[in-house]
Amino acid sequence: MPTLLEDLVKESSASNRRFADRVAEEAAQGNRGEVIQSARQAADRAISRVPEAEDFWNEALAAFREEPTGAHVESLLRLLLNSFESSRQLVQSARALWEVAIDVGASPERLQQLEQAERRFEELASEAKRALEHRAAKWQPADPTRLAQGLQTAREGKTIKADEARSRFRQTKS
């Protein structure tokens, strides 16, 4: 059974895509009387998706820390990726509608915030994609024996502190 978070993410993606399609229609029609108001609404909606995306991501990270592997983790990562991409699509639709509004004489509003929102959605999508790639790759060390020894040494606490590690290469530099 899907978790509540999965349902929320799915619903948000579907809503983003519906809204983005609606905004794209509005841009294609370009009714002078309505386009400015619609552009404002589209920008508000798109920018409001950022804190929601951050909340989804933070909740997912907390869940992955508890249980980092398994089919449900990959399923949630895919849903999140889809959601971040749908949010990005929504931002792009809002920006396209603002271009129409500017053409009919409106002064641009919140374009910088839209740009920041798009950048953040790209970052989140890229993180989700990398985590999926990591799971698909099933990475194995080239030298499993050395890894086992390294882990054992680390767990025995026989390690070098950060400052000493830093100074090791600086000392030998000259």
Binding site: A60, F64, A154, T159, A162, R166, R168
Partner: protein, 99 residues
């Protein structure tokens, strides 16, 4: 939460033997790792965990010395992450040269 980052000696030994890197490069890599791991180790653990019990994660780091890219794969142990310590336990490096 900020983490203290520690290294197994073999990791530093391995790094010191990689040809094509100066000690300045190695110091830069160690600095970059410490900065990133101390800030983001819990995020890396969530996203790049290597075991079901969630005790270690893979950490990738790239360093460029034109025209060569040094792609590092580290394994970081998080057994004591609740006490704010993560330990770099393993490293391997692939070298690519762009043409």
């Amino acid at each position: 939460m900020a983490f203290f980052v520690e290294f197994v000696e073999n990791v530093l030994d391995y790094m010191s033997q990689i040809e094509g890197l100066t000690d300045e490069d190695r110091a830069t890599i160690v600095d970059g790792m410490i900065e990133e791991l101390s800030r983001d180790a819990d995020r890396f653990l969530a996203l790049y965990s290597l075991t079901h019990e969630s005790l270690c994660f893979r950490y990738e780091y790239a360093h460029v010395v034109q025209p060569t890219i040094f792609n590092f794969d580290f394994v970081v142990d998080t057994k004591d992450s609740a006490m704010g310590v993560v330990r770099v336990a393993y490293v391997e490096c692939r070298v690519e040269t762009s043409t």
